[in-house]
């Protein structure tokens, strides 16, 4: 196959490209320039947008002896990921930008361009398994598993994707990088959100959305128990940083239960009020087999690295409905619900959808 290896400058994508070369593919490396001004995101090894990362990716491609180019995806990234991230928070939801980037950039804008230019598939360093059966499965390294942020991919997108790392642990990947003479072998993992270099999501949102003072209301009593400078600064399930003026009558901690952008209100309440057993979601994709017409017994995960619980999932007209066997706390609109089928050969991603309530 003629494949395009997306190379972030990190160790995973470098080893993924190396394995694609070794598998006999005709590999071309591409680094995605996602920052409009790379200087502003220059923070060492944090994200995937710095000039150092670009050079690291180029160096790895040179060691592998493959062509290497930089593709400018900054405008698309800004519109589809960064602006979307801000708009989702403004709407009282909690987005996952990595998932959105996979859905709109890596396996959409990049994949489409690659296919148009004659490539058969895109290779990435995601930790997930995608075998000959076409099923997406969790990585053998459960701590590094990224099947959650890939579960949004459609059948067409998966059919043009190659994930060479799913059968390896991160430690094995690093060891292989060192053995292959790739200088990124010891490079720290990227964390957090690549376009928020200092990790201050609240500050980033405040800079985009401005201050919008409003009330914090107790769900049980309806009383105003505090104030905030922007409802977008809160996430469902959040406990810290509420700065409430009045303690709860029962003296127990309170959590963010919901955010209502229309009235700019943050509603708080006790932990048990966070518990959710019914989840509704929109824009479902189903890649783990034929689209089911009856409820499916499976397991669901409602946030990246979150708890997994048994559930019954049903596809409805344009949506997805899940009844959890055990209630979960901190279920936030905007996150994905991903349905898995337990499997000794790696849990299989059945489908996913975006949580609405």
């Amino acid at each position: 196959m003629r494949v395009l290896a997306a190379m972030s400058g990190g160790v995973d994508s470098a080893v993924a490209a190396a394995r694609a070369v070794e598998a006999g593919h005709d590999v071309t490396g591409v680094h995605l320039a996602l920052a409009r001004n790379p200087q502003t995101y220059r923070t060492g090894a944090r994200g995937c947008c710095t000039l150092e990362d670009s050079r690291d990716a180029r160096r790895a491609a040179d060691v592998l002896g493959i062509p290497f180019y930089v593709w400018d995806m900054a405008d698309r990234f800004h519109a589809d990921v960064v602006d979307d991230f801000v708009a989702e928070y403004a709407a009282g939801r909690t987005p996952n930008p990595c998932l959105r980037c996979n859905e709109k950039i890596k396996f959409a804008a990049v994949l489409d361009r690659a296919v148009a230019l004659g490539f058969d598939a895109v290779v990435t360093g995601h930790h997930a398994r995608l075998g000959a059966d076409g099923l997406l499965r969790r990585s053998v390294d459960l701590a590094k598993d990224q099947s959650y942020v890939l579960a949004v991919l459609t059948r067409e997108q998966l059919d043009r994707s190659v994930f060479p790392l799913g059968d390896s642990t991160k430690a094995q990947v690093r060891e292989e990088a060192a053995r292959r003479g790739l200088a990124v072998a010891d490079k720290p993992d990227s964390h957090d959100i690549c376009f928020i270099a200092d990790g201050d999501t609240r500050g980033f949102l405040a800079g985009r959305l401005g201050e919008a003072p409003g009330e914090v209301v107790d769900a049980l009593t309806g009383a105003v128990v505090g104030s905030h400078t922007g409802a977008y600064q809160y996430t469902v399930g959040q406990r810290r940083g509420l700065h409430l003026d009045r303690p709860a009558p029962d003296g127990r901690p309170r959590y963010v239960l919901s955010i209502t952008p229309k009235t700019n209100t943050v509603t708080v309440g006790p932990a048990e009020a966070l518990e959710v057993s019914t989840v509704r979601a929109e824009r479902p994709v189903w890649t783990g087999g034929a689209r089911p017409t009856a409820p499916v017994e499976c397991e669901v995960q409602l946030r990246a690295h979150g708890d997994v619980v048994p559930a019954t999932v049903e596809l409805t007209d344009g949506g997805l409905h899940a009844e959890l066997r055990r209630p979960l706390r901190g279920v936030a609109a905007g996150q994905a619900i991903v349905a898995y089928r337990p499997d000794p050969a790696g849990d299989v991603v059945l489908g996913s959808a975006t949580i609405t309530a």
Binding site: T28, A33, L51, P67, Y69, A109, R113, L117, G118
Partner: protein
């Protein structure tokens, strides 16, 4: 492989390579007083004389540098500083809009850090500067201008400027004129004295010499404040131990290229004309950029309407064809060419451009390879670009 990127760098001439290796085997610092130093100095000074003779300069006007970028920076900043220090209220630079970044960014640095004023000289649709326009600019600001800088020939679109006319206008206003002749030497006749310029940049690796060696020809009555301070080599304008091997090889390459220029230009221009004619026949909707007559013999520059240049480059690279989109930033992200924008092209046309540049090792087979690969690549790049403008 078909190497069609000689304007980026061109293979070293055998004679230059041999001269390099032979000299590099010898020990000696050209500033030392002993026999080894004298031998190195003799090599350097003989080279200086050869370069001067080949380019119509006096040996004392030859300042060896680390290449084109250094020569451009030395000319622009050095003459600016020197003239500003010497004259009341002189703080302006007149610069063409189509300069290489080595000049453009040096001027920009002076604006941002030294309070310089700048007048950009526009070009016409074929990339040509106008001596009349320069005259009008100097009529208006002449007493405040430290220097005029305009390249001899453009590295992207290949347009050759009326340098002698421009230099004469500058001289008429008493303003020194610097020209970046990196692309010109060996391609078109270049004579320092006859051109009337005050400073002229040359680099080795564009004409068959080594990378990392160049000269600034600096007229004897023009002073430049040094960028590098130290041992006081090169008229005290450029300190640093002289690279005898590089300089000897550079001199061989300059002398050879200048001697062969006429014959070379005729042969390469014929190849280039064949390339242009066949590209136009093979690919619909292609725009040929630059001056059709006054242009570098090896340069062919096109806008492939509806393509992205970087996609086309990728596809041609995969077929073993080496060419260039023109300009790139340090992160490697393709920017629309400032040269084409200055020529009045819109963003799309500027981004759709590719440069094919021929040189002393080019053959008809290189052109054949390009013509074989190009139509399918353009077709594919056009489909990819159409897809990009369609939102999902």
């Amino acid at each position: 492989m078909a190497y069609l990127d000689h304007a980026a760098t061109t293979p070293m001439l055998d004679a230059a390579l041999e001269a390099y290796v032979a000299t590099a085997r010898e020990v000696g610092n050209a500033s030392s007083l002993h026999a080894a130093g004298r031998r190195a100095r003799r090599r350097v000074e003989e080279s200086r004389e050869r370069v001067a003779a080949a380019l119509g300069a006096r040996p004392s006007e030859v300042i060896f540098t680390g290449g084109g970028t250094e020569s451009d920076n030395l000319a622009v900043k050095g003459i600016f500083w020197s003239r500003r220090a010497a004259g009341a209220g002189r703080d302006r630079v007149v610069c063409s809009a189509v300069e290489h970044h080595a000049v453009l960014d040096a001027v920009d640095w002076l604006v941002r850090h030294e309070g310089a004023e700048v007048s950009w000289l526009p070009v016409d649709a074929e990339g040509r500067l106008s001596p009349q326009r320069l005259g009008a600019e100097l009529d208006q600001h002449g007493d405040r201008v430290t220097l005029v800088t305009a390249m001899w020939a453009n590295n992207e679109v290949g347009t050759v400027q009326p340098v002698a006319d421009l230099a004469a206008v500058a001289a008429g206003h008493g303003v020194p004129f610097h020209t970046d002749a990196v692309q010109a030497v060996g391609q078109v006749p270049v004579d320092f004295a006859a051109s009337g310029v005050a400073a002229l940049t040359v680099t080795g690796h564009k004409l068959g010499g080594p990378t990392g060696v160049g000269v600034l020809l600096l007229a004897r009555d023009v002073t430049a404040t040094p960028l590098l301070h130290g041992g006081g080599q090169e008229r005290d304008v450029r300190s640093g131990t002289l690279d005898a091997a590089g300089i000897v090889a550079f001199a061989v390459a300059v002398e050879t290229a200048v001697k062969a220029q006429q014959e070379y230009a005729a042969r390469v221009a014929a190849l280039r004309d064949d390339l242009v004619a066949r590209v136009r026949r093979a690919v619909p909707e292609v725009v040929f950029n630059g001056d059709p007559v006054d242009r570098l013999p090896g340069n062919a520059h096109f806008s492939f309407t509806g393509c992205e240049g970087d996609a086309l480059l990728l596809l041609l690279d995969a077929q073993g064809i080496a060419c260039s989109t023109g300009s790139a930033c340090s992160a490697g992200v393709a920017q629309p060419s400032h040269v084409l924008l200055a020529m009045g092209a819109d963003d799309d046309r500027a981004r759709s451009s590719l440069r094919f540049s021929l040189g002393h090792t080019s053959t008809a087979a290189d052109v054949d390879a390009l013509i074989t690969a190009l139509p399918a690549a353009v077709d594919r790049a056009r489909r990819a670009a159409a897809l990009r403008s369609t939102p999902r």
